[in-house]
């Protein structure tokens, strides 16, 4: 209902005579068809071919110089039951599966002098580093594909004041949006072969009711850029609880997997310092929690970045220091990519062609993944991309547990 009301208000604002006079409308969108081919079956998921379709349309309307509305819609289909069946417009995008028809964004932006306010469903990104971004607390992701997650929009208000080289930012989210975790009966929930005889049931997620808030100050000087941030809210990645599930008499044992999202506070900082050879970027956040079953830890990243010729290189180290270990089971890809060397490189072959490489290796050698991608555009609208992902390692490692998920992906996108 709230979404419908917002859409009506937006439509009314856009239809008013004064708005029609001056408004500028821009759009962008695409239809993307992808095919995943996995090298082997997983213990809990024999499917090795998955087809996926995504169509996205985003519209931006400026009725006046100080006001902008943004709206975006996703339509999805999937051959492997990763998309909801119904055609109901999903505004919050908090379900287990991706919505067939989802509201990607719906926000108003008001600008008055140095002040900018964004209200509605939007994307908020903090931090400077890549691959792992410890301070990026308002950016839940869709982990149905753990090694290629998409960002999910969040609903709230963001105010930014920019004064010369300083930027002050405050964010308030009245409603929590969790990251989407892998489906229990699919390969990105790694189940050891010995455990496949025990059925897993979704014990549901307990989503917190409270609001979240954060503030960030950024300074952009002649050379160095840095930020300090504070976040008070909930981790969008869950603690996982596995308990025996009640089963009918005579049936074998089963397990119920439930998720809780602990309250956390983070104290973060990031910086970028260009030197003659590289840009050095660093980012760290200290995660604390009043919850008795939630770890306290520091995530940090130091990376070097360089563009030269047609190459772009990013490489560094992501680390973790646990100050209080309390939880036994979490789904935490951000922590899973720490204690690791991470790197990314891309090369522009020509105006329409590029290749990219990305990889992470855990420092103990227990897990590693690498991705290679070739992409080529044709004309003004078409782009074909083929990528290969190789994952190896031990079952006990976050990356290594996905060693059966090496795959090739081919996709064709029409942008408009």
């Amino acid at each position: 209902m709230r979404a419908r009301a917002a859409l009506l208000i937006l439509a009314a604002a856009l239809a008013s005579p004064s708005a029609l006079e001056a408004q500028t409308i821009t759009q962008r969108g695409f239809a993307d068809a992808g095919l995943f081919l996995f090298a082997q079956a997983a213990p809990n998921d024999p499917t090795r071919e998955v087809a996926d379709l995504l169509a996205r349309e985003e519209i931006f309307v400026k009725p006046a110089g100080w006001l902008q509305f943004a709206a975006g819609l996703d339509v999805r289909a999937n051959s492997h039951d990763q998309v909801d069946e119904g055609w109901r417009l999903d505004v919050s995008d908090r379900g287990e599966r991706r919505p067939r028809l989802g509201l990607r964004r719906l926000a108003a932006t008001i600008t008055r002098g140095a002040l900018t306010i964004d209200a509605g469903k939007q994307f908020i990104r903090w931090g400077k580093t890549d691959i792992v971004t410890p301070t990026d607390r308002f950016a839940p992701r869709d982990y149905l594909d753990v090694v290629d997650p998409e960002f999910l929009g969040v609903t709230g208000v963001r105010g930014v004041v920019q004064a010369k080289g300083n930027t002050f930012e405050a964010v308030w989210l009245p409603r929590f949006t969790p990251s989407r975790v892998p489906l229990l009966d699919q390969r990105w929930t790694a189940v050891p072969p010995a455990a496949t005889a025990i059925p897993l049931f979704d014990g549901a997620a307990v989503l917190p009711d409270g609001s979240q808030a954060g503030v960030r100050w950024s300074r952009s000087g002649d050379r160095v850029e840095f930020s300090a941030s504070f976040f008070d809210g909930f981790n969008h990645l869950p603690n996982v609880d596995v308990r025996p599930a009640p089963t009918p008499l005579g049936a074998g044992p089963a397990l119920a997997v439930s998720r809780t999202y602990p309250s956390i506070r983070t104290y973060g900082a990031d910086a970028a310092l260009p030197t003659r050879i590289f840009t050095i970027k660093a980012e760290a956040a200290y995660f604390t929690s009043a919850s008795a079953d939630t770890d306290q830890y520091v995530l940090y990243v130091v990376q070097l970045e360089r563009q030269t010729g047609e190459w772009v290189f990013v490489g560094g180290y992501a680390g973790e220091a646990v100050t209080a270990r309390r939880s036994s089971l979490v789904f935490a890809p951000d922590r899973g990519l720490t204690r690791a060397i991470v790197a990314r490189a891309s090369y522009t072959i020509g105006p329409t062609k590029s290749v990219a490489f990305e990889g992470a290796v855990r420092q103990n050698g227990d897990g590693a993944y690498t991705r290679a991608e070739y992409s080529q555009a044709r004309g003004q609208h078409w782009r074909a991309t083929i990528s290969g992902v190789a994952i190896g390692g031990r079952e006990s490692d976050f990356l290594g547990q996905y060693h059966r998920n090496s795959h090739v992906k081919a996709s064709l996108r029409y942008s408009f």
Binding site: T111, A114, F151, S220, T275, R276, F278, G350, T352, F416
Partner: protein
């Protein structure tokens, strides 16, 4: 001037000016100062068509909108791609300074993040074109030293041929540039930029017309001599002194579409 000339090469700049009735000057600095003075405008806006020709002659088209507030070393510019569809919304904010290289940030809507373009990365090609990030700057005349090296003719127009060298050598990928400035209207006709003794890029100005009293090249062609590729920029809907606000040239502003 970008790569060389006082605020010139800059795409915003590239739109050089002149007048049919100008007094000739022999001194190289005076010539460049006069050329810069004649391009002064409170603001500028145009729609650009970029055609990238690779060594085999294949063409990739891109389009952007360009807005600039201020002139030369005291200006800010936002360049936003409008085509092809897959790069719609990608934007570059350039904040020029009178005494040093510009600050540049790029906004990439696909990942909802901005990224500062470090000085050492400015020699990189800008989005697959033959312009580098540095070529998008607009530098002040005082950031260079000048030497008049002779007279020449470009497309039949008599030109002064001037060598410029950046005063802060580390601030530019180019060690020197040769600039051709037309004697009839002080418009830039060509710039050749060198790294040591190697000619790296050549920028030709064509279709020079008076727009609101400012002599402006409506077509610029940048050739990357190393790659044997070239990019032609055609300016459309060009206007000077349009009402633009300072608040539209910030990091927050380039996030808006």
């Amino acid at each position: 001037m970008s790569r060389g000339q006082a605020g010139t090469v800059t795409l915003g700049v590239a739109l050089l000016i002149g007048s049919l009735h100008v007094r000739a000057a022999d001194d190289a600095r005076q010539i460049v100062e006069e050329a810069q003075k004649r391009t002064d405008a409170a603001s500028q806006r145009y729609e650009g068509l970029l055609q990238v020709f690779d060594a085999k002659g294949k063409i990739a088209d891109k389009r952007w909108t360009f807005e600039r507030l201020g002139s030369h070393g005291r200006s800010k510019a936002v360049l936003r791609f409008t085509a092809p569809a897959e790069v719609k919304g990608v934007a570059l904010l350039v904040v020029n300074h009178p005494d040093r290289a510009s600050d540049q940030w790029m906004w990439t809507p696909a990942i909802e993040r901005d990224r500062r373009i470090a000085l050492q990365d400015r020699s990189t090609r800008f989005f697959g074109t033959d312009f580098s990030f540095e070529d998008l700057e607009e530098r002040d005349v005082d950031q260079y030293d000048y030497t008049l090296v002779g007279d020449d003719a470009i497309d039949g127009a008599a030109c002064w041929k001037i060598q410029s060298t950046p005063r802060q050598s580390k601030s530019s990928q180019y060690t020197r540039s040769i600039v051709w400035i037309r004697k009839d209207n002080y418009a830039f006709a060509r710039i050749e930029s060198y790294a040591k003794d190697d000619l790296m890029r050549r920028l030709n100005y064509a279709d020079i017309r008076s727009v609101q009293g400012i002599w402006t090249a409506r077509q610029l062609e940048m050739t990357d001599l190393k790659r044997a590729s070239r990019t032609r920029l055609t300016l459309d809907k060009l206007e000077y002194n349009v009402p633009l606000k300072d608040e539209d040239f910030t990091l927050q502003a380039i996030r808006r579409q």
